[in-house]
């Protein structure tokens, strides 16, 4: 239960309800507007209700053939939201797709005439996202064995993308100062967690030297990746992207929560840091010190605890009532434990 309660960002299939029926009708009209009256949608399914997005799977059926697509709609908008608006996610997808990384191809953005709020449509990559299946099913043994090295290669290619192709990202609070951005959010959710203030102090005292800014995914982990039996075939969920040290992605993928119980396999519960670093450097990434990675792992614990506080805050304020978000409020304590234990040298 703990792992599930820690994982509010991955939902379950939802029941078709009146909201879904309305969205389906409007999506059909949106598709006809762009692809002609012969086009229609079929096989609509709600995949997840995440922290910031609703994801619908559907087929675009045209006389010439059928194309599996995905609709992403924004569901959370607040002045303190840490998530990029859909228009910016769409532009990131365009750039990253053009650079040949394994991501869905952006197809079209929603417009006011669609009456579907803010979001976009992209291609659907076939594969599996469920952590439990990916970490235990024998069919994915080869994919697991490749995971850390493949992640190192993906990070190297991602971090090599010229950041001037995404000028709007320089304005985000996370791009200016990741730690300061998270501290501001922590305070906005009420603060008052001793471990987190001790963590902030440790992070301030141990900041690594400044490095050139790179494009950071910001939420790269099992659950936000599509794998098939050969390995990673899709990197999803770009709403946390920002500019900063590439090591931010290293720290996040090694978070204890994303090891799903396989504590001795830090990279996504599947591989070792040494494989990740070797592949990163073999593909043009820079050399990194253990101290720098440790800093980003501690920072990642802080960030993840603050995200859990955000979910609980949404529940407690009544804006987004949800049992999983209520659990997030109590689950923050486990991440605080990981933060202090990581500083003390555990989970390495």
């Amino acid at each position: 239960m703990a792992a599930q309660a820690l994982e509010p960002l991955v939902g379950d299939p939802l029941v078709l309800d009146p909201i879904m029926a309305a969205i389906t009708a409007r999506l059909d009209a949106a598709v006809k507007r762009r692809h002609g009256s012969a086009a229609r949608i079929a096989n609509v399914q709600a995949a997840t209700l995440g922290a910031s997005n609703r994801t619908l799977l559907f087929d675009l059926v045209e006389p010439g053939g059928t194309r599996p697509l995905v609709l992403r709609q924004e569901t959370y908008r607040a002045p303190t939201s840490p998530f990029l608006p859909p228009a910016e996610q769409y532009r990131i997808l365009q750039v990253v797709h053009r650079h040949g990384l394994p991501v869905p191809e952006p197809v079209f953005e929603l417009e006011p005439a669609d009456d579907l709020d803010r979001g976009f449509v992209m291609t659907r990559i076939a594969g599996e996202t469920l952590p439990k299946k990916l970490l235990t099913d024998p069919a994915y043994a080869n994919a697991r064995a490749r995971f850390a090295a493949q992640t190192g290669e993906i990070f190297a290619r991602l971090h090599a993308i010229p950041v001037d192709e995404l000028p709007f990202l320089t304005a985000s609070a996370d791009s200016r100062d990741q730690l300061a951005a998270q501290v501001t959010r922590y305070d906005s959710y009420g603060g008052g967690h001793p471990a987190l203030d001790v963590g902030i102090r440790w992070l301030e005292r141990h900041r690594p030297p400044p490095v050139p800014a790179r494009l950071i995914h910001g939420d790269y982990r099992v659950g936000n990746l599509i794998l098939d039996t050969t390995g990673i075939v899709g990197v999803l969920d770009w709403e946390c992207a920002h500019l900063g040290s590439g090591m931010a992605d290293f720290g996040w993928v090694c978070l204890r929560s994303w090891r799903y119980g396989n504590i001795d396999r830090p990279v996504g519960g599947m591989g070792q840091r040494s494989e990740l670093q070797a592949a990163y450097q073999a593909n043009g990434g820079r050399a990194v010190s253990d101290e720098e990675i440790l800093w980003w792992e501690v920072f990642s614990c802080f960030k993840w605890a603050v995200i859990n506080m955000m979910q609980a805050d949404g529940h407690l304020r009544g804006e987004r009532r949800s049992l999983p978000f209520a659990c997030c409020g109590r689950n923050a304590s486990m991440i605080e434990y990981d933060l202090l234990m990581t500083i003390l040298g555990h989970y390495q």
């Binding site: 239960m1 703990a2 599930q4 309660a5 939902g11 379950d12 299939p13 939802l14 029941v15 209700l49 603060g191 008052g192 967690h193 001793p194 471990a195 987190l196 203030d197 001790v198 902030i200 102090r201 301030e204 005292r205 049992l323 999983p324 209520a326 659990c327 109590r330 689950n331 304590s333 486990m334 605080e336 434990y337 202090l340 234990m341 500083i343 003390l344 555990h346």
Partner: protein, 144 residues
Amino acid sequence: MNRKSSAQTPGSPERLRALTQDRPDIPEILKTVTEFINGVAGRSSGSGSERYNALCAVFLLKVVERELAAGTVAAQRQMRELTRLTGEEPSMTEPYAAFCASARAGKLDAQWDDVMAFALRQVIDKVRITNPDYLEPTHREAVV
């Protein structure tokens, strides 16, 4: 009916409160509701989100059960430690506020090991309620 389920200290205010009400008492009510929700979670029919929400509900009820059983020993110990570390009585509305502000501002750097020890103990006290199995075995025992 005998009263036997209470985990509280004999003569404590919590015990007295329980004795002034009829059974089922709070642990028994929690058990009853948990059994019902476990039934929902285990049903083969119903949607995935319904089962997931039921699991979350059981998780939260377990938190309530452990928090009630643990009583106030850890909270009282923490207040004594806070007074020692910060040199002042903690606020009864925001007991950690002074510690957090001082730690973040670097005013407690000279006693960093004690600050880390307090923060870790405070977190362990919370995780013992939230999900004790998450802790390293040496951290699972209660500290008076």
